[in-house]
């Protein structure tokens, strides 16, 4: 192996396009599963707050499963297991539409929904019940009190863990490599195999991941600052 030389990779258009494709795929997986997770989390939360034991037990079981089984095993179960049980027309349709990425989105999204819904729940729990009573006394209905009084405060309380879990969702998109999704880690491995410049390409991959993670963390810090009424009043 010759000396350290970043330009050997950065000036090669083939490697650059591989990396760009990897970044694109990482973002598709991360954003797709984030949206899926958030939508599901709100649904789970609604089910948890609705009367009736069945819904509550279902959500508790859902959260428990997704938190206690490794994410990688969940992905393997989806891609190697459930994929093969699907009817033929669906299997062939998925195979033609980047099945690896789709299952990465499904697996990561379902898993992260458990974390998001727990974050939102503990955020809501921290809002004093008096807020709900006051909103109802002022003539809000249950949903409207939730929408205008409880949720804004609950989401604000839940912001720090939500941001942490969004960062780990972004990081977990790298697990897609195990089921063959062509995301950034996959691209890094590919460039390594072609260029044999392991150190340089790992460094590039690490810096890219770190850069995007720090952006998400910074965005989160900005949001929490914006959401803090005390600081906003002072600014």
């Amino acid at each position: 192996m010759s000396g350290f030389d970043l330009s050997a990779i950065l000036t090669n258009p083939e490697y650059i396009s591989m990396l760009l494709h990897g970044i694109e795929m990482t973002f598709v997986i991360a954003i797709g599963s984030w949206l899926l997770a958030m939508a599901l989390a709100v649904l789970l939360l609604a089910l948890r707050f609705s009367p009736g034991r069945f819904g509550n037990a279902f959500v508790a079981g859902y959260v428990s499963y997704h938190r206690n089984v490794p994410t990688l095993v969940q992905l393997m179960l989806w891609y190697f297991g459930i994929f093969t049980l699907m009817p033929d027309w669906l299997t062939s349709w998925l195979a033609g539409h980047n099945a690896e990425a789709i299952f990465a989105v499904i697996g990561l999204g379902l898993c992260q929904a458990a974390y998001f819904s727990e974050d939102l729940r503990s955020g809501l729990r921290a809002v004093s019940p008096g807020q709900m009573e006051a909103a109802r006394a002022l003539g809000h209905g249950y949903l409207s009190a939730m929408r205008f009084v409880m949720m804004p405060q609950g989401v604000r309380n839940a912001l720090p863990p939500l941001i942490n879990h969004s960062v780990s969702l972004f990081k977990n998109s790298s697990l897609g490599i195990v089921i063959g999704a062509s995301e950034l880690t996959h691209a890094v491995k590919e460039v390594e195999n072609l260029s044999f410049r392991t150190f340089e390409i790992y460094l590039i991959g690490t810096v890219l991941y770190l850069f995007f993670s720090l952006i998400i963390m910074g965005l989160g810090a900005f949001l929490s600052m914006r959401a803090d009424p005390v600081r906003r009043a002072r600014a």
Binding site: S64, R67, N68, P70, S173, L175, Y202, Y209
Partner: protein
Amino acid sequence: MIHDMIAIFQDYWLLLLIGQYPNGPLGGLANTLILSALSIALAFPVSILMALARISKWRLLRWPVTVLVYVTRGVPLLMLILWSYFLVPLVTGADVPSFVTMLTTLVIYQGAFLSEVVRAGIVSLGHGQMDAAKALGHSYLGAMRYIILPQALYNMIPSILSTFVSTIKDTTLGYVINVPDLTFAASQVNNQLLTQPFQVFLILAIIYYAICWSITFLANRLERRITRKRAGLGGGRAAEALAMPAKIASEQL
């Protein structure tokens, strides 16, 4: 379906439990647990040192560790595993088994995460403890050793257990560099059977679930006990009765 799973379990339970052990390297569940326990045992002292470095007044100590913590927080574990896989043999100059590579990665990764917990534990104690210890004639390190750390670490026991759970879950990533653990054993079973991937991976998920759920359960009970002790309620029945209403109130939502 259920019958298939029972049959698979009956045929392959030994492989899932200890891998190829007498004829090959130890693997399966035993290896997963050994790997996680070893990495937590090694990550714990590392995390204390890192936490002390992060609250140190010397920049030379504080900055590199802060950078390390941010890198481990911002980069996927998979990327760090690839780094170790590449660097550990290069540094040691020997052909290192993948188990050691994975152990190194997990010690650094979990050490960085735990160090944040330790740091929070130390900071949450407040200045008074340190000031009092110094007024009584302790040096900085003496106060840390005898006053601050015992309190901070006692409060941390539940977090250490939950870190243990995430370590067990993280060991699955060793699959990428062929660490012979439970996930590896399951994929071996799958390769031998070929026809029942769903059943095999469902068994795998159930085993992980059973282990991680039990430890989480233990951590929650311990946490409740520690909170009670910290509140000065002791252990007895009266304390339990006192602590009960608060718990019910907090679990109402």
